[in-house]
Amino acid sequence: MIPRGSIGRRLTLLLAGVAALLSLLSWGMVTGLARQAAERTQDNVLAASAITIAETLRSEQGEVRLELPYSAFSMLDAIGEDRVFYRVTAAGDLLTGYADLPPPDQGLAPGQVDFATGLYSDEVIRMASVLRVVLAGAQPIPVIVTVAQTRQGVDQIAAELSRLAAVLSVAFFVVAVALSAIAARTSLRPLNEIAAAVSRRGPSDLRPLRRAAPAELAPLMTALNRLMDRLGQSIRRSEDFIAEAAHRVRTPLATVRTQAEIALHSVSDETERQRLRGIIRAVDESSRSAGQLLDHATVAFRADDLARDPIDLADLARQTAATLEATAALRDIHLQLNLAPAKVAGDAVLLDSALRNVLDNAIKYSPEDTTVSITVSKLGAMGQITITDQGPGLGDGPVEALTERFRRGANTGGIVGSGLGLTIARDVVAAHGGHLALQHAENGRGACVSLVLPLA
């Protein structure tokens, strides 16, 4: 399975993206607001300055008099180091100040402050203008006071606040990313728990998962359970099919064999008898091959996902020997058990299969009235089951080649076998991290096969 991205990472990235967007947005908003606030402050100061100047207007001998109050200018320092310009006009004529300042809007109402932004002396300026009507003698004279200021202070305040906002936004972003990572991990925990619960299961545990899971995971759980159910059904169906197939094939074989045996009793002609014996042998051979092929397939299947149950090799040897005792007894072969406890972790079915194949071989190749010994012992970190027979031995050829698939010893004579027995045994112990040891028996007669397995 190739992992394509990670939900956790994607979630974190998504949340981080949202956080980045929010950070950017809040930074932009704070910057805008800060600028606005600074501009408003400047406007207020400019207005106050203009109004302060306007309030000193008076008429004296029919002339408009004015004294610029110190405070009107000193207050302009409040925002920052900005250049200041001003103009006072009476009935359109310049009274004092900078004549070339941009003119205020037309239709300025008395007492109302008009703000405007313009360009003066190569700089952007903000202007506040107020109109005051002064009675000079009997004549009302409109006086406009304009106070202007460059915007450096505003820019500076806005820039400083913007910088501060940027720092805060970055900090917010960093915290948000950290929290996002935590949140992503937390929200994915149920998923991981389910995964852990599934992977903790044994290879054949297909029971439905019964776990409290978040609503979002319910479809997954349902799908998983449905899949396991289908898988279970499918396995059961194929098992049933195999069973059915085996039954259909083997029952007629059994009939043939039994019939042939019966026929053997009623036939006295030696040629006929030989023929019947041939039939029986063929039946045996095919059934044995089929069995071993099935065993081999089972081993390959189960070894993929090996169970690790605690198993005592002594118990295993005792049980397996018991099922083969009758077969051995037929030929007066004595099964001798020398058992010492040796615990391993493994698949009981597979180990039984391995031992059975080795033991079956030993019984098959042993001459009558001999002993096959089964010894369970420990050797360092390994436990081993050793099967020693008094048969013809392993021949002179390379010992290791015997475990190759379909390879039979050179000296098997007329004994029925498919050659898979040792292969199965080897595959099983290899799947358990052990190995199969083939030796000639000590006294030079017979074979000695050991299943060597790491102790639990």
Binding site: L66, L68, D77, L94, D100
Partner: protein, 342 residues
Amino acid sequence: MRILGFALGVILSWTGAILAYEVEEERFYPGTGPVVLRVISTADLAVFEPYLRAFQTQRPDISIAYTVTSSTDLYAAIRDGAPFDLALSSAMDLQFQLANDGFARSYRSAMTADLPDWARWRDLIFAFSAERAVVVVNGERIAGLPLPATRQELIALLRDNPARFHGAVGTYDVRESGLGYLFATKETRSTDVYWRLVEVMGRLDPKLYCCSGQMIDDVAAGRLAMAYNVLGSYAAERLARDSGGRVQILRMEDFENIMLRTAIIPRNAEQVEAAGALIDLLLETGVRATADDWPLPPLGETGGADGAGFSPIRLGPALMVYLDPLNRRTFLAEWENAMEQR
């Protein structure tokens, strides 16, 4: 550009840019290189030469053309676009006006960055010396009288001894001296006894001066018993030169006028780098902690032991208030009323 001419402009000749100012002193300090730094200043060479020498040891390649003029002439010259690379003036209000109206260009260096906020404005104008206005008295002419420490005591002294002080009190003619005008307007805002003091002085037939140098000379010579609002650095310098104990300096404890000597680089300056270098040197001397053998007091010195009273005139738009012709007219009218009441 401003169309409105200041009332100050009355004393300027408007015939041409070169003739817009009256040269009081002029000297050329040749350097090894082709660069000529043209400095226009209100400080006499006697005071300023040590700085120029120091600068030339640092930068021997730069020649300096140093021109001394009055603060109003300097203002008019820069406004008129006279070719200078650096303008040094004791009239901080006029310097400020130049900067505000866009006649200065900005300059930035490590030295300017180290300046306290009150000593610079917008990277356009830099203070390099803070000087207090003091009262200078002739010890012989006021012998036996208590030395005043505040303006109240000063008023009392003048009022109680009209015979001794009649015709023997000197101060700036604020109509002529930009610095005097600056000090006077600052005092009207800072202390409520100013007008009373002016009235008392007015009754004593005061002598009015354009410059502090002459005032100190007259005090030293015994022609004046007392000079009011004299720029401290000059006074101190003179004292150091001929200290016979006759000239004494009195500091007013109730309130002191502290003026900042400032530098700007004119908009049309050509040797900006050299001008900046000289500003840096002035600032280096200006921010030094103690007065040594430099003629001008440092920025910080005035804020020493009696730092509580240290409040230099602030560099800001408020400086423009009394430069406004309407305000100036009003103020001068009032001042004349008080001063010339005989």
